[in-house]
């Protein structure tokens, strides 16, 4: 079915009434028959006109079958627009252009058109008039027009509704644009832009502004690591038993050792050929460290190289508070280093705390006991101290416990010196850590002191025998041998201290004065020359306390 319009299609009919029109099927000369252009169900505009009458009709016909069509819609007729009931006689029948169905241009060339043009045909499906300043918009079925705005307004969407005009506020004019990097580390060039142009950024964003401050290209696996002021771009460093593999955009960290603790709970871990292992011979339960085997001590186990640091040994019987000349020894190994130094104390067992009331006291560590390196001096109490290494003498400011020395040379004496205050448990040990005071067995500590000073006292017997000897060829001169309980430090340094001694030849006791016989001194003994009187020549004799509990005989080999 199609709408057909065609030129020069004409026939004749003798059909009467208002029914279908049947044509002859024979077209006049110069025309075509209906059947040459129409098929069944095609529609077309027709005109039927009586040849000797005033009857005519124009309408939309539907071609029903060959040479016959139905008068589907009458558009105009001699019967006032209704279907004409044609009378007898021949009628002209032809395809025509219906006046009411023809689009034409008027005399000015404008199309003569009534109704609305559908959207599908490029129309607006609307009769709305676009007044001045309006803009068209779709309603979903037709084109409508917005209201007209005012000058300077901008169009604002109304969603699916009509757009509206709005006034823009805050209007102004930008005349120049520029950019400053400030303290960011960035720089800009190309500005100011007053019309058109480009501002170009360069430089490195500083740490303070969220940047890195770095310009180097990161290597595989590189990280930016804070260094206190900025960042260092570096790769990770593998510690022991760790491997690090850097790739583009990745870091792989793996362990090459370590792993699961060996042994059972509480067993101390040790390196067993590169793997952790434990043993029942060495355990720690959180409180006690227990060894089932032999603990082998390093040579530094006896850490304190000071002697009598707890003021236990007092062979010279220093009396609390006694003002003492510089260089005079008080408790063993401790000597005054200032005129009239003195300290007070109450002798304890085993530890004694002294209070240095005036002056200073010091101890010199023998060169043989200095292995070298850094030493730490520690003590209890309020006294302050200073240290001299490498055989030097003390100087400078005193400081509180603990004090660590610079590296000392091996085989050079070290002197520690204390100023006023309370003082006890003095320890000088290798390393930088002050460990608890190392307690000594009394006999060991006494023997350590006796390397430097050895005294016999007559406290328990007023005729104490200090040594055996002989009277010389003259009655006023004798010799006596004194043996030491431990080897003393240096025979050439010996000094003799004594009080109230006598020679006894079996008959006579006679007071004596003593000096060392320099030709007899050794590490373990010394012979004394006694000047006395009334002795029997060549008789064996004893060097004794001369009837006095205050008598004593001492040998000093102090530093």
């Amino acid at each position: 079915m199609a709408f057909i319009t065609a030129d020069r299609v004409k026939d004749t009919s003798t059909t009467t009434g208002t029914g279908n029109i049947t044509v002859s099927g024979s077209a006049p000369f110069g025309y075509r028959t209906f059947s040459t252009v129409l098929s069944a169900s095609d529609t077309f505009y027709y005109c039927v006109q009586g040849q000797g009458t005033s009857e005519w009709e124009v309408g939309l016909g539907t071609y029903v079958s060959s040479n016959q069509f139905a008068r589907t819609t009458v558009l105009s007729s001699s019967a006032s627009g209704s279907a004409v009931s044609f009378s007898s006689g021949t009628k002209n029948v032809f395809i025509t252009l219906a006046a009411t169905k023809t689009l034409q241009l008027d005399s000015t060339g404008n199309p003569v058109f009534t109704g609305v043009l559908a959207i599908a045909n490029g129309g607006t499906n609307s009769t709305a008039t676009p007044t001045a300043g309006t803009v068209p918009y779709g309603t979903g079925t037709a084109i409508a027009y917005s209201a007209a705005g005012t000058a300077g307004q901008v169009l604002t969407s109304g969603g699916t509704g009509a757009p509206t005009w709005s006034t823009v506020t805050g209007l102004g004019t930008v005349t120049s644009v520029n950019v400053s990097g400030g303290t960011t580390g960035l720089t800009y060039s190309g500005g100011p832009v007053t019309a058109s142009g480009t501002i170009t950024m360069a430089g490195t964003l500083a740490v303070a502004n969220g940047g890195t401050g770095l310009t180097s290209t990161p290597a595989n696996g590189a990280l930016d690591i804070g260094n206190g002021t900025g960042f260092t771009r570096t790769t990770l460093t593998a510690g022991s038993n760790i491997t690090i593999t850097n790739t583009a955009g990745g870091i792989s960290i793996a362990s090459t050792g370590g792993g699961t603790p060996g042994g059972s709970t509480t067993q101390i871990q040790y390196n067993n050929s590169g793997a952790f292992a434990g043993s029942s011979n060495l355990t720690f339960d959180g409180t006690n460290l227990t060894s089932g085997g032999t603990v082998v001590m390093a040579s530094s186990f006896k850490r304190n190289i000071l002697i009598n640091g707890n003021y236990l040994i007092n062979q010279r019987v220093y009396v609390s508070g006694t003002a003492t000349a510089s260089g005079t020894y008080m408790h063993d190994r401790w000597k005054s280093t200032t005129t009239n130094s003195n300290y007070t104390f109450t002798q304890g067992t085993p530890d004694t705390t002294i209070t240095i009331a005036a002056g200073t006291i010091a101890q010199i560590v023998e060169d043989k006991n200095v292995a070298g390196g850094v030493y730490t001096l520690s003590w209890t109490g309020t006294a302050t101290a200073r240290i001299a290494i490498n055989g030097g003498t003390t100087s400078g400011a005193y400081a509180a416990s603990p004090i660590t020395t610079s590296s000392a040379t091996a085989g050079q004496t070290i002197t520690v010196e204390f100023s006023t205050g309370t003082l006890g448990k003095v320890q000088l040990e290798p390393g930088t850590i002050a460990t608890p005071y190392e307690q000594q067995i009394y006999s060991d500590q006494l023997a350590q002191c006796q390397r430097y000073y050895y005294r016999q006292t007559a406290t328990s017997g007023k005729y104490l025998r200090y040594g055996v000897g002989i009277i010389s060829a003259t009655s006023n001169l004798g010799q006596a041998l004194v043996s030491f309980p431990v080897s003393m430090r240096l025979p050439s340094s010996y000094a003799l201290e004594y009080s109230t001694v006598a020679m006894y030849d079996g008959t006579t006791i006679s007071s004596a004065t003593l000096v060392l016989d320099v030709d007899t001194v050794s590490l373990n003994s010394a012979s004394l020359i006694a000047t006395t009187s009334g002795m029997v020549p060549y008789r064996s004799a004893l060097l004794i306390a001369n009837n006095s509990l205050s008598s004593y005989l001492g040998i000093s080999s102090e530093l």
Binding site: A495, S499, V515, V518, D519, T531
Partner: protein
């Protein structure tokens, strides 16, 4: 305290010693040789004018 120098007769001949007699009647003596630290200290005090040593008779 008094300090004096004495000479005593040893097996190998005379020896010089320094003897200090303290105020409590006790004595300190040591060989007067430069190797003895006590002697060196005493000599330093003598040189400083802080100590006077009575010379040995006939020494």
């Amino acid at each position: 305290m008094t300090v004096r120098e004495i000479i005593v007769e040893g097996l190998n001949g005379p020896q010089k010693h320094i003897v200090i007699e303290r105020d409590d009647g006790s004595f300190v003596s040591f060989p007067a040789n430069p190797e003895n630290l006590n002697y060196v200290n005493i000599m330093q005090l003598v040189e400083a004018g802080e100590l006077t040593i009575a010379p040995a008779e006939g020494g």
